[in-house]
């Protein structure tokens, strides 16, 4: 713990003329579970994709374990995208084969055990699984790697509250303790207990980075409450005239 795992310095990313990341700066140490929190459209998914090497920033420096995202970083980063990418015709066991071929750190036995606990048959085809089950299979694949960095983009958004608990427990019980887990979400109340640290992101910039227990101690509020305060928007009043 304590070693710097991610370093982002003045990172800019544009989609056409629109800036998705606007000079983003932060550092993360290893051995932490970190929440990447921000309103819709604040740049969470873009940042995840930049860290994973799927998108290249126009400007700035990104280092993961001392390297720019590329072949090496892909071997130490385990990424859960915000969408499922499985082919319909594939079986769960086909996915295991694929992961085994691609990633040296994939622990197939662990993945099979997790499926067992959830009573997911590995000879089932992806298209026969429910949306929630597909998401669980994807999480199992991602968490069965012994990675240095887990990037989890909205891992709990599409599932019911009981499944959320299962997913969070899976993350807690299976991450590599020397590794760091970065979880992006807007469902803060559900995740805040498992977090060490939070990054608040807005308009493509990190606006606050803090240890969660320090927030509770200093502000006397939950991370969820603080988030609502920082990102409060005034509701549109329906056009009523400004009466003085």
């Amino acid at each position: 713990m304590g070693e710097i795992l991610i370093q982002c310095q003045d990172v800019w990313k544009y989609y056409g003329k629109k800036e998705a990341l606007g000079g983003l700066n932060f550092q993360l140490s290893s051995g932490r579970i970190v929440g990447l929190l921000g309103p819709n459209g604040s740049g969470k998914t873009t940042l995840m994709k930049v860290l994973n090497g799927l998108l290249h920033p126009e400007r700035g420096m990104v280092l993961i374990d001392g390297e720019t995202p590329g072949i090496y970083t892909k071997s130490v980063v385990s990424y859960l995208p915000d969408k499922t990418y499985f082919a319909d015709w594939m079986k769960v066991s086909d996915m295991f084969d694929l992961f085994q071929d691609f990633y040296e750190d994939f622990d197939r036995e662990k993945a099979e055990q997790m499926c067992d606990v959830l009573q997911i048959q590995t000879n089932q085809k992806m298209k026969t699984l429910s949306k929630g089950t597909r998401e669980k299979v994807q999480l199992i694949l991602v968490m069965s790697r012994r990675a240095k960095l887990y990037l989890l983009d909205e891992p709990i958004a599409g599932v019911d509250p009981a499944a959320r608990e299962f997913i969070l427990a899976t993350i807690l019980n299976n991450y590599n303790p020397e590794g760091t887990v970065l979880i992006s979400t807007h469902l803060i109340a559900d995740v805040e207990r498992v977090l060490d640290e939070v990054l608040f992101i807005q308009n493509g910039k990190v606006v606050r980075q803090e240890m969660v227990d320090d927030i509770r101690e200093k502000e006397g509020k939950s991370v969820d409450e603080l988030f609502r305060e920082v990102f409060r928007t005034v509701p549109y009043g329906g056009g009523a005239a400004d009466v003085r």
Binding site: I33, L172, P177, D213
Partner: protein, 119 residues
């Protein structure tokens, strides 16, 4: 084990308070070995680092002793346990007086009330 956590106070402090209570009420006995950090963390649904901080707090209070072979065990020193029990009792009494004063009672009146009730 039952864990009750409130998200507006530091989680590690609450974990330490609840572990302390578990020790004082005999849920963990003197000399007993505590479960591992990871097991306790997963049971409480918190991050292992947070649980580690709570357990380090117990060590600092002397309620638990960490040693290389036996892991983390509850202290067998009764004076430490009694001291902690007294500390918690004093805290309860302080809270009682404070609440009574807010209701408009003096300390003497509050004490009188306490004596009359419950007997």
């Amino acid at each position: 084990m039952e864990w009750k956590l409130d998200d507006s106070r530091p989680i590690w402090i609450q974990l330490q308070e609840q572990l302390t209570r578990m020790i004082l009420t005999g849920r963990f006995r003197a000399g007993e070995r505590l479960p591992s950090v990871r097991d306790l963390a997963s049971e409480a649904g918190v991050n292992p680092n947070t649980m580690q901080r709570a357990l380090a707090g117990l060590d600092a209070e002397g309620l638990t002793v960490t040693n290389r072979t036996a892991g983390r065990t509850v202290t067998e020193d009764d004076s430490v346990l009694d001291g902690m029990r007294a500390k918690l009792a004093h805290e309860l009494i302080r809270q009682f007086y404070e609440a009574a004063e807010q209701l408009g009672y003096t300390r003497e009146q509050a004490l009188e009330l306490l004596k009359r009730s419950g007997s």
